[in-house]
Structure formats: structure tokens, C-alpha cells
């Protein structure tokens, strides 16, 4: 097999990459990727397993994974999907055919070029009405245990039923979604490639959810300059940036207490006391957990790739990183409306950060950017819908010559 492949490669001088149309004119014969996305090793059982330098620290069974410090193992990851499932998920993620009127895809609000967010204060979906909250980045969601700003979903699968069936977001229904997908021959074929043991001929919802979750879980960003520093190459950061790191983890700023490395979130909800200047107060996790002490509590967002995801906070209130950071130093509870009695987190205090320190923090957060594993946007979608503006430029050339 290997031989044949290499002969194919060298002899014919053409390689086939993932997901290309054998006969693009007729849109048939789309073949799903049989190799894993970057960052994953293909196992003998056709599963993609995450490989990261952070896994080198798992042997030192000292600390709980994921809770801070530089050389700390990652929290448990959701991996083990097949290359085909991941690739199918990629098509679904970008395909507006999933929405009620075929205009909105997951990628409308989670755009690869905007750190998988959308650059808006709060997102806008099928109804053209601004939603209540901002779209979070999807980088590294494979490690998260709770989803949404208010932590109301426990799995990626549970999460995506939110946007899919919300009238304001993608506005479809379970029935419509299945009917649409089952009506597209190419998708039927792709689902049987991704789920070779499937029982029914028809596409079922759990397969849709699983494939999208598989794709989301492949969005790994752990190769920033900060990571090079953490792994021991101290020249990776400038003097300023190291100073920023030291402010970040200091007990004056205390950022690292909630935005804990290596993911830069401790995955807890916390009340930091943001107000909602132009609208009614968002009760956050209180509603989800039926607990009034959690009023105004939101999930601590990861700061990886935050440089790409302005504006900031659950309501997109802050244009720049510096604006968001300044919030922390304007006094504990300074924004809390008189009518609210919030249980503000104890790490929110009066750190008295200087404007120099605020810019150091922002410099440091910018070192957390890494898009080296950014996936490619499909050139053509199985639904036949054309992507209006091609979202990504970094593309694998689908057919290329090897000399």
C-alpha cells in the first residue's frame, strides 16, 4: 500500500489531498480525508490522537493537569475521531445549508480569520437581530468541559443544538436539518464514508453532531511564542513580554489565577462585575444553576488567540485588549449597578495597575497567538452553495506537482 502510494506520488507526480472532487464538474465522488489534521497522529485503528509538547509533562504526575504553571500537562482532551469524521465536520461547519434559509453556517459567526469569532460586539444570525452575547473563539474547545458564556452545555454536541435550532441563529429544526442533508446525495455518500458501520441508510442527527464536534476538536493552538518560552526557549519572548508575563502571573494583577496556563482559563465561572451599559443585566450562570450567588457569573474565557478576537467580554463591550484589562484596575465592583448585589470573585480587587503595566499585559497576551494549525476552508461545499467570500487564504493546493 505504502509502495503504491509513493509510486503514485513520485511516478505520476500528482498527489491527492483530502476532500477533493475527483470529477468537480459533476460534483460526485468527493473523497474525505484519510489523514489527520496537523497536531494529530493517525493510529492503526484510524483514530486521530492529539500530540503536543505539553504531553511531555504528563509523566511528572505531580500536579493536576491544566491548572497553571508553565510546564503543566493539558486537561483531558476530546480526541480519537477518525480523519473522515473530522473532514466531514469541516464541510458541515462551513455549509450554510444547515440553516433554515441556507444563509448561515457555523463559520458565519466563528470565522477562521477572526480567531473563530466574528469581530462583532454580539453576533448576528439568520434573523439579522443582534444576539445577546458575543461569539467566543473555538480554538482549543477540545479541552473544555463547559460551553457557552454561562456554562450551560456540558458537551460540544449539546452546545451546537443551541445555534442550530435557535430562531435567531441558524433557524432550522431537527426535521428540516435531516430532510435537507438526506436530500443531498453527496452528503449521504460522505456520511457513509465517515460512518462506515452506520445502521440506517439515512443520515441521523447524532452523526451530524459528532462530525461537527470532531472538526471543532481539531482546532488546536498551542504553538505560540509563549509556548516556546514555556517549553524552555526563553529567547522566544522579548524583555517587555516577559515583564508582561510576570505581571500576568503576579499576585497584584492575578490574571493567571483565573486565566490559568496552559489553556489560559481555569474553566470555572466567576463574577467579575461587568455592567451592561445599554441593556438589562445579564444574569449569566445564575439562571443555569438556579443559584442567585452566581448572578453575573460567566465562564473564564481562554486568552489564547485573544489578539484576534476583539471586541472583548460576553457582550463585546471592549474594543481593545487594553480596555478590557483596564476594567480590572478601576476598583472592585466599580461598575455594579446599585440595584444589583453581586458575589464578586475574591481575586477581583484593586490591583492599581499602571498604564505601563496594562500595556505590558496586552503585549503578553499577544504572544499567545498561534494559527499554525488553522484548517482550510473547503473550496466547494457538498450542498453546492458557493461560499461568497472565501474565508481563508492559507490553502493546501489540492493538486500539485512533485518534482
Amino acid at each position: 500500500m505504502k509502495r503504491i502510494l509513493i509510486m503514485l506520488l513520485l511516478g505520476i507526480g500528482v498527489i491527492l489531498t483530502c476532500g477533493i472532487f475527483l470529477k468537480p464538474q459533476k460534483m460526485t465522488g468527493l473523497k474525505l480525508c484519510s489523514t489527520c489534521p496537523p497536531g494529530f497522529e493517525l493510529t492503526d485503528s484510524n483514530q486521530c490522537k492529539l500530540r503536543s509538547l505539553y504531553q511531555l509533562y504528563e509523566s511528572g504526575k505531580g500536579n493536576e493537569p491544566g491548572v497553571g504553571g508553565l510546564r503543566t500537562a493539558l486537561p483531558e482532551v476530546r480526541d480519537g475521531f477518525t480523519p473522515q469524521q473530522i473532514d466531514l465536520g469541516r464541510y458541515l461547519f462551513f455549509d450554510p445549508v444547515l440553516s433554515g434559509n441556507q444563509t448561515v453556517s457555523c463559520a458565519s459567526c466563528h470565522q477562521p480569520d477572526k480567531g473563530f469569532s466574528d469581530g462583532l460586539k454580539t453576533s448576528v444570525g439568520i434573523s439579522h437581530k443582534p444576539l445577546k452575547r458575543a461569539a467566543p473563539s473555538l480554538w482549543n474547545v477540545a479541552f473544555l468541559k463547559k460551553f457557552f458564556w454561562d456554562a450551560r452545555a456540558k458537551t460540544l454536541e449539546e452546545q451546537m443544538t443551541g445555534p442550530l435550532y435557535s430562531a435567531d441563529e441558524m433557524g432550522t429544526t431537527r426535521e428540516q436539518l435531516l430532510k435537507t442533508l438526506n436530500g443531498i446525495g453527496l452528503y449521504r455518500d460522505l456520511f457513509s464514508q465517515a460512518f462506515p458501520d452506520k445502521k440506517s441508510d439515512d443520515i441521523v442527527l447524532n452523526e451530524v453532531y459528532l462530525a461537527i464536534a470532531a472538526f471543532e476538536s481539531s482546532l488546536i493552538s498551542l504553538n505560540s511564542r509563549y509556548d516556546q518560552y514555556a517549553h524552555g526557549y526563553h529567547e522566544a519572548l522579548t524583555k517587555n513580554e516577559i515583564e508582561g508575563l510576570n505581571v500576568f502571573r503576579s499576585f497584584v494583577a492575578r490574571c493567571a489565577e483565573c486565566h490559568t496556563p496552559p489553556l489560559f482559563t481555569n474553566q470555572q465561572v466567576a463574577v467579575i462585575g461587568l455592567a451592561e451599559p445599554d441593556r438589562s443585566f445579564d444574569s449569566g450562570a445564575a439562571r443555569v444553576f438556579h443559584d442567585s450567588t452566581l448572578r453575573g457569573a460567566f465562564k473564564v474565557p481562554s486568552l489564547r488567540n485573544a489578539a484576534l478576537t476583539a471586541p472583548y467580554s460576553h457582550s463585546g463591550r471592549f474594543e481593545k485588549l487594553e480596555d478590557m484589562i483596564s476594567f480590572y484596575t478601576k476598583g472592585r465592583g466599580h461598575e455594579v449597578p446599585a440595584t444589583e448585589e453581586l458575589h464578586i470573585h475574591w481575586h477581583i480587587w484593586e490591583p492599581g495597575l499602571s498604564s505601563h503595566e496594562i500595556s505590558l499585559l496586552s503585549d503578553f497576551i499577544k504572544t499567545l497567538s498561534d494559527e499554525s494549525f488553522k484548517p482550510q476552508v473547503p473550496e466547494i461545499l457538498p450542498s453546492g452553495i458557493r461560499l461568497k467570500n472565501k474565508l481563508s487564504t492559507r490553502l493546501v493546493s489540492s493538486v500539485s506537482n512533485i518534482k
Binding site: 497553571g68 508553565l70 503576579s250 480587587w349
Partner: protein
């Protein structure tokens, strides 16, 4: 009171004397002293931490004198090196992001090396490496912490003198296997010694006074707090399970043989901090922690109460709840303790309790809120509230526990070379190279064809890439990977078949 002070002074001198004797006497100051023989295991018992893994000096010794930067030495140091700091004043934040670095102050004629943050700097010492040793340093006037560890294992922090360093004095966080001993700390506005989210730690022979909290064990497991002298803080010794942290348990804490005296200092904690809610006059406070044993302590003159045991709800702390953290203090074991003159001026809620009990004498022990499986020995010796439901303890002492340090240091974070190669290939290279398809860079099959059994060729190339192929972009250098890692990844790249 006087009497106890004397006893304590004697004890501290005794303990410290042995130690200082070993380190400083009988050695000319010109001979660089490696870290005390104490660590080499000769005659050391398990509780002497012979096996900590910290402070084993195998490399270079740096000598830092005033006018020079400690951080510059840390920057040059390699694992196994010792940095000796001579008396004088240093204004810097020292951060140690490497394993097995020792910082040792040199005390000459009673002069200490002093780290002074001039109330401008955030933290004095930050470490994330394993096997960090910090000793004999005076630290003062910082705004954040004196010494803070973040996920460093096998740490030893001892013989430091920490005065007014802001929030915490000594704060190892997320570390396993650590020793904090013979430090003196005062003027800290939160906990002087704060063991946060750690495992296996001994806190011994420290003196903490004039702080909001003396010693706090929070969301940590297997902690031994013994032979400490905690006096004139707002609260002496605390064991907390705080909600909302990523570690959801605090258990297996032994508090024994400590002096907990007159912790009646007015609370000067920052608004909103957990400890700002501690009533002055608190001796020992257990909040929502489990499996805590309190034994053989001398707990006297604490005006609110000697020992307070509470669940989360009754603690009066204003934090948001956490559905994942269990709010009760369960299985608290109160063995014999020497208690007197506690509770003479308690908070109003406790005054009310006393009225209910028709007691005029202050309370030595208060237990409020939920919790199960707790016990007490000889309750009649004390004035108590809420322990009526406690059973009689089956255990009478904790002698079996000599230490909570591990018999062997936590294994270093090291992996086999093969694994290193694999993690690096997939973790880094695979963003640009796939096995047989073209990504940003050429496919691995092409690389293999060129560098067949020549990993060195790959190492040289990735260290210092030259532009070879017209139709590909130039590759960025990968020299940030250690030479060993570069070799490992080169070999791995040549070995893969899919």
C-alpha cells in the same frame, strides 16, 4: 503568657540552632557552601526531607553581590546550579522558569541579603520549575507575594524572613511535595503562609505573627502543619475548601503541636478577600475541609474562639457557590489540645450562642453547619458549642504520620527521546508538513528521500534553514527546540510511514 513565650523561644532556638549550626558554623565563608548536608541524606530521617529532590547542587555556583542582578544569574543558570546571594539590598523580581535551581542567601555577621520591592514591585520571587530551593533571604516591601510557586514540585522554602510583602508571604500553588519550614513572616494582609491547591506538604517550625491569616491550607491534600508558632494574627491556622477553584477538595490535614496564641489582631484584609471575613480572635478555623485532625496544640487567648469548624454557608464568606464543591466540614478529628482563655470577646453571633448555652466562659470550640463523621476526645475539658453530635474518636494520636512529604521526589517531567520526537513532530512540524501531501512545506516523503539515514542533515537544516525550493516558502528556524529535541524530531521524521 510569658511562660509560653519562653517555651516557644526555647523551642525555636533549639530547632534553628541545630540547623544554623550545620550550615554556617565551622565553615569558612570563602568556601562556597553547597546546600546543607541536611539534604544529602546522612542521618536524615524521612521527615528531614532527604528525598526532596531540591537543593541537590550538581552544577555551577554563582556568587551574587550587591549591584549585580539575581535574575541575570538565574538567566544563565542551568538545572543543578546554586545561586548564592550575599548581604546587601536587591531591588528586583526574580523568576525561575527552570528546574532544580537553588537560591541561597549568605548571612554574614548577622547581615542578610534583602530583596526590597520598595512597594513598587509586584512579587519578589516567582518559580515554576521543579526542585526549587529558596533559603536565607529577607524579603520586604512587595505588593503581591513574597515567594510564589506556580506548579513547581519538590520545593523547599526555608529560613526566610518575610516582612510586609503584600498579599501572601509564601505561596506555593499547584505544587506537589514541598517543605516550608523555619520561616518568619509578618505584616501580610492575607495569609502569611498559604498552601494553595497543593499536595503533600509539610509546614513546620515557622513563626507567623501580625498577619491577617497565619497559615492557610486551602484546597490542598495531605498537609502536615506542626511546630509552628502563630500569634497575634487575625486568625492563626486555617484549613479551607474554597469554592470556585479548579481543585475541588481539601482533605487530610493534620494540625498538631502548634502554638496558636492571642490571634486578636484587627482584620486588615483586602475588601472581598476570603480572609477579610475572619473574625479577629480566631485560633484555628476549618471551613468545608474534610479529614482534618487537630492534635496537641496549645490554643490560648484567642478572643473569638479557639477552634471554629464551619460549613461553607455559615462561614459568612460572600463568594458565589460552586455546585462542584462539597460545602461541609466532614470527619474532623479533635484529639487532645491544650485550650484556655479563648472566646473572651467574640462576634455578636457567638455571643448569642453563648447566651443560648447560658455560658459565661468564652468558647474554646465552635462547630456550626452541616458535616458528618466528626469526633472529639474529652470534650468536657473545653467550653464548646455544637460538638454534642460528635462521636468519641477512636484514634488517640497521629504518631504514625511522620511527614506528608513523599518518600521519593515527584518524577521529573521527562520523556523518552522517541516520545519527544513524536510529540514535536505532530505538535509542531505537522502544521506545515504532512506525510504525503503538500502543505506549506514539502511532504515528509520528500524529506525522507533527501535525508535518508541522515538525521543530522535535518537537524542542521531546521536549525538554520536555507531557501532550497523555488516553489515553497522559506522555512522559519526551529532553533528554539533544544538540540536534543531537534535530534529526536529528525529521527522521528525519518521513521514515519503514514
Amino acid at each position: 503568657m510569658k511562660l509560653f513565650l519562653k517555651v516557644v523561644v526555647a523551642l525555636v532556638l533549639f530547632g534553628g540552632g541545630i540547623y544554623l549550626g550545620k550550615v554556617f558554623f565551622g565553615r569558612s565563608k570563602n568556601i562556597p557552601a553547597p546546600v546543607p548536608s541536611y539534604f544529602n541524606g546522612d542521618g536524615a530521617s524521612a521527615s528531614d526531607s532527604a528525598a526532596m529532590g531540591a537543593g541537590t547542587v550538581t552544577g555551577k555556583i554563582f556568587e551574587i553581590k550587591p549591584g549585580h542582578s539575581i535574575q541575570a544569574a538565574v538567566g544563565q543558570a542551568n538545572p543543578g546550579d546554586l545561586i548564592r546571594i550575599y548581604p546587601g539590598v536587591y531591588h528586583e523580581t526574580v523568576y525561575i522558569d527552570k528546574d532544580n535551581i537553588s537560591l541561597q542567601g549568605v548571612i554574614e555577621n548577622g547581615e542578610w541579603p534583602i530583596l526590597d520591592g520598595e512597594k513598587k514591585m509586584n512579587d519578589a520571587i516567582l518559580y515554576s520549575g521543579n526542585g526549587t530551593l529558596i533559603e536565607n533571604i529577607k524579603i520586604t516591601n512587595y505588593k503581591g507575594n513574597g515567594i510564589m510557586g506556580q506548579a513547581g514540585n519538590n520545593y523547599v522554602i526555608r529560613n526566610n524572613w518575610i516582612v510586609d510583602t503584600g498579599v501572601y508571604g509564601i505561596f506555593p500553588q499547584f505544587g506537589k511535595n514541598g517543605l516550608v519550614e523555619r520561616n518568619i513572616l509578618t505584616g501580610i494582609e492575607d495569609a502569611a503562609i498559604y498552601i494553595g491547591m497543593c499536595d503533600n506538604v509539610d509546614v513546620r517550625f515557622n513563626e507567623v505573627y501580625g498577619n491577617v491569616a497565619g497559615i492557610e491550607i486551602e484546597n490542598s491534600r495531605h498537609a502536615l502543619v506542626e511546630y509552628n508558632y502563630t500569634h497575634n494574627n487575625t486568625g492563626g491556622i486555617l484549613a479551607f475548601l474554597t469554592p470556585g477553584l479548579p481543585i475541588k477538595t481539601c482533605f487530610d490535614v493534620i494540625i498538631r503541636n502548634n502554638y496558636v496564641l492571642n490571634n486578636n489582631t484587627k482584620n486588615f484584609g483586602a475588601v472581598g478577600s476570603t480572609v477579610s471575613h475572619i473574625p479577629k480572635g480566631t485560633g484555628v478555623l476549618i471551613m468545608a475541609a474534610d479529614d482534618v485532625t487537630i492534635e496537641n496544640n496549645i490554643i490560648m487567648g484567642n478572643e473569638n474562639s479557639g477552634i471554629t469548624i464551619t460549613d461553607y454557608t455559615n462561614a459568612g464568606v460572600n463568594h458565589a457557590n460552586d455546585p462542584e464543591s462539597e460545602p461541609n466540614a466532614d470527619r474532623i478529628t479533635l484529639l487532645d489540645n491544650f485550650m484556655d482563655k479563648n472566646g473572651s470577646d467574640p462576634i455578636d453571633e457567638i455571643k448569642l450562642l453563648m447566651k443560648m448555652k447560658l455560658s459565661k466562659k468564652g468558647l474554646d470550640i465552635i462547630a456550626v453547619g452541616g458535616g458528618e463523621g466528626s469526633c472529639i476526645l474529652n470534650p468536657d475539658r473545653y467550653v464548646t458549642f455544637g460538638v454534642d453530635k460528635y462521636l468519641t474518636c477512636k484514634a488517640s494520636d497521629t504518631h504514625a504520620v511522620k511527614t506528608y512529604l513523599l518518600a521519593k521526589p515527584v518524577a521529573p517531567r521527562q520523556t523518552t527521546v522517541a516520545e519527544k520526537g513524536k510529540m514535536t513532530y505532530y505538535g509542531v512540524c505537522s502544521g506545515c508538513h504532512a506525510y504525503n501531501t503538500r502543505l506549506v512545506g514539502p511532504p515528509v516523503v520528500m524529506v525522507q528521500a533527501v535525508y535518508k539515514s541522515n538525521p543530522k542533515g535535518i537537524v542542521d537544516f531546521i536549525t538554520n534553514p536555507v531557501h532550497k525550493r523555488e516553489d515553497y516558502p522559506e522555512m522559519p528556524p526551529q532553533n528554539y527546540l533544544s538540540p536534543e529535541t531537534r535530534q529526536a524530531v529528525a529521527e522521528y521524521m525519518l521513521s514515519i510511514t503514514k
